[in-house]
Amino acid sequence: MFKKEFTAGQKSKVKSSAQRAVRAKVIETYPGLEPYIDDVLPKKEQLDLVKVPDRVSLYCNGSTPLFWQHMDDAIIPHLTVVHKYPWAFKRIRIDRGAIRFVMSGATLMVPGLTSPGGRLPGDEDAGVYDNGGQDIDAGEVVVVEAEGKEHACLIGVLKMGTKEMKEKKKGVGIENGHYVGDGLWKLDLS
């Protein structure tokens, strides 16, 4: 989504009614974030909306980016939010070899997730990626961590459900996500 670097467009204040709607949407999409919602989206603080290219709305608090949304698609946290509360999201893991592709803005392919270094819910050694043994459906937002790394490198919408991934072992996993070092990551809001 943010392969190219860009500069922030117009910034506007989000009305308190709309602010409440954003909050509700975030809790609905990420129930795991609910205990932290007052820290992530403080009720009393002004939420700003910044327009960025390709019809993406970016919600931020001062110069801190918080969530972004492409048109009416899912609202997705900035990776700095994910890094603080990684356990609040559905997570999967790619093998080490896939990291450099992700970080150059390439589409995440399924083999990076089904190889020995990858982790999907239901895998024998899934660990924190087990999601209670529940597969994750296409269209859901997932955080992507990486083999040998502590922090997530990508967040995006699954193109293919994890059950299908395990069966097919090929195809597109996630495209147009937000990854560490991309244009959104480097965006200067100050």
Partner: protein, 201 residues
């Protein structure tokens, strides 16, 4: 009991260190082009994290999970990126050394001046932001304007050229030798070249 559980059970947020050079979590610095600088920064700023990431055991462990082929590719990638970053840096410092910021005092009419600043873009300054800062700093009007040659410069209302000079050197680290102050006195009317209307054929 149950109703009080959620808030106190919440795990505290993770505090994350981000690289002072490339802005990524340091464990991902190896995928940027500035790995060497990143490592130097980390060693100073967070020695423990540095040891964890860059000790020879950590490095070999990281690589062992890659196939030999992938290792070679990763190495080549890293070299390419480093070379690119180095070239970019060289270009950048070359540009800094040879570029000039020009601060021009322009007389609008008797006792009214504006100050035009051009060339800041060569020093990685965001003109729009700088214009805003000038306006705030000198409590005056300030904007980015197009120049006749198609470039952009900053126009500040009032004669603030000395103050701008100090600010540019201090805030944007432009070497003083690369800043030139010039004056543009209003020309006498007669000096203007005569305008000749195109003749109908």
């Amino acid at each position: 009991m149950a109703d009080t559980a959620t808030a106190s059970d919440a795990r505290p947020p993770k505090s994350v260190v981000y690289c002072g050079v490339c802005s990524l979590p340091p464990e991902y610095c190896e995928f940027g082009g500035t790995t060497k600088k990143c490592a130097e920064w980390l060693e100073k700023a967070h020695p423990a994290l540095y040891t964890a990431l860059y000790s020879s055991e950590a490095l070999s462990q990281n690589l062992s999970s890659l196939s030999v082929d992938a290792q070679k590719r990763a190495e080549k990638d890293a070299q390419k990126k480093a070379a690119k970053a180095e070239a970019a840096e060289a270009r950048e410092s070359e540009k800094r050394a040879t570029s000039k910021v020009i601060i021009k005092r322009v007389e609008r009419n008797k006792r009214k001046h504006i100050t035009e600043i051009s060339g800041l873009e060569h020093f990685n300054v965001d003109l729009k932001k700088a214009a805003k800062e000038f306006g705030k700093k000198f409590a005056t009007g300030s904007s980015v304007t197009k120049t006749a040659s198609g470039g952009e410069e900053i126009t500040v209302q009032g004669d603030v050229s000395d103050e701008v000079l100090d600010w540019v050197v201090e805030k944007y680290n432009v070497p003083e030798d690369n800043v030139e102050q010039i004056e543009d006195k209003k020309k006498e009317k007669k000096a203007a070249p005569p305008m000749v209307a195109p003749q109908p054929t």
